[in-house]
Symmetry: C2
Subunit: 227 residues, 2 copies
Amino acid sequence: MSKTTYTDPVGVNDATLHYLDVIYRLTQQSDAANTTEIAEKLGVTPSGASVMLKRLAERKLVQLTPYKGATLTPEGRRLALRTIRRHRLLEMFLHQVMGFAWHEVDDHAHALETAITEPLEDRMDEMLGYPTRCPHGHLIPRKDGTLPEVNDMPILSLAPGATGVIRCVDTDNSEWLKYLGEQGLKPGVRVTLRGIAPYSGPVSIETPDGVVAIGQNLAEIIYIEPN
Amino acid sequence: MSKTTYTDPVGVNDATLHYLDVIYRLTQQSDAANTTEIAEKLGVTPSGASVMLKRLAERKLVQLTPYKGATLTPEGRRLALRTIRRHRLLEMFLHQVMGFAWHEVDDHAHALETAITEPLEDRMDEMLGYPTRCPHGHLIPRKDGTLPEVNDMPILSLAPGATGVIRCVDTDNSEWLKYLGEQGLKPGVRVTLRGIAPYSGPVSIETPDGVVAIGQNLAEIIYIEPN
DNA sequence: CGTAGAATTTGACAGGTGTTAAATCTCAAG
DNA sequence: CTTGAGATTTAACACCTGTCAAATTCTACG
């Protein structure tokens, strides 16, 4: 048997990569990722996550402050970014090449992200024309771990009357994605913010197909590049 | 987190599927797969394989006769055929859609075969036009577990002068595949057997590009459909 | 038929990832 | 400053898959 392996040096397996991925995403929004949040995202108990975090810390993949939270070390971040790059390239591939809808790709990509090999990653990148964003607009890390510079702003941070192009719809809720897509609210679409009703009221957005009104919970995941 | 799962009922994980896959292939050639062979194919020790086989037998996936060998149960065969179907569809996809060379696809497909989801399997099948064979000519099991009927014969079983179309090159040795491909000996090519030198001498095969001579070890993996 | 050598299994153990239940820590509110 | 709820960790354990070394079984040959 040939036993050629394209995977990383020993000890970096699926579970590890999923932890690093989740920690990376959580630390985008707060300083450190807490155990319970990590556990929730991974579908394990907090005690299980706690044990695993300690091991990841021993392996120098995360910086752990007990009772406070976890952060990635440079090596952990490297691996997380690699996984995220693969995830988002896969999403793009599934959408553009294989014709899956944008709300379907996350789950499939998740199943594949730790299994694909580097030549496959590179080939997808090439076939897709070296994309910088996934179908939802999230940035695809480059192979060197850097991220493209962008100017995405929450649509809710703009004043009514502002126009721009939707760049990112930031959620992993596939039903929300499906709905927003049906309303024409997806990356690449030029929109004008028409109004935000007070007291968490509806947000009116004008698209080429007309004006749509959505709740603020949905509106707050939409990011646009103002023009 | 949505946690949608596309994987099988509990307990059928990567390792299990790889065992079933290997046992299936080994039992194509002999009555039962022996422990040492299985261990070799999987890159584990015979004792490890022995332990695992006992567990697979407890789970009713293999029929085990101690000291004799293993056979698949109907359920084991079902899972093995599913994995093999996915492996061969992946090989076809990697070759036809993504442009990998036929000697490169086996390793990549192996890494993915236990990770892909059913919708992905179906979509690949569709994109490929419901192929019946992988790039090397192995049969792709149908979803119901049946296999297409074929009339493949070892080229060495024919008399010199016989002609036919190469249908299968039966090896997982990527160097052999590369070499045979370079010689123009791959599925779909019409060939004529020119001669077999005695005492394990070279085998002469005429292709549209000329006559090539290869060793009998290579010739015996080539199967043709006589015309 | 006996026996040596190969194949196989068993036993003892390890490492990874998870669980539940109990202990411990943190932090903000009284 | 105390305290109690919630977050976190620890302890004890389970399951899977593997290892190595020793015991066992099979088989083919003299």
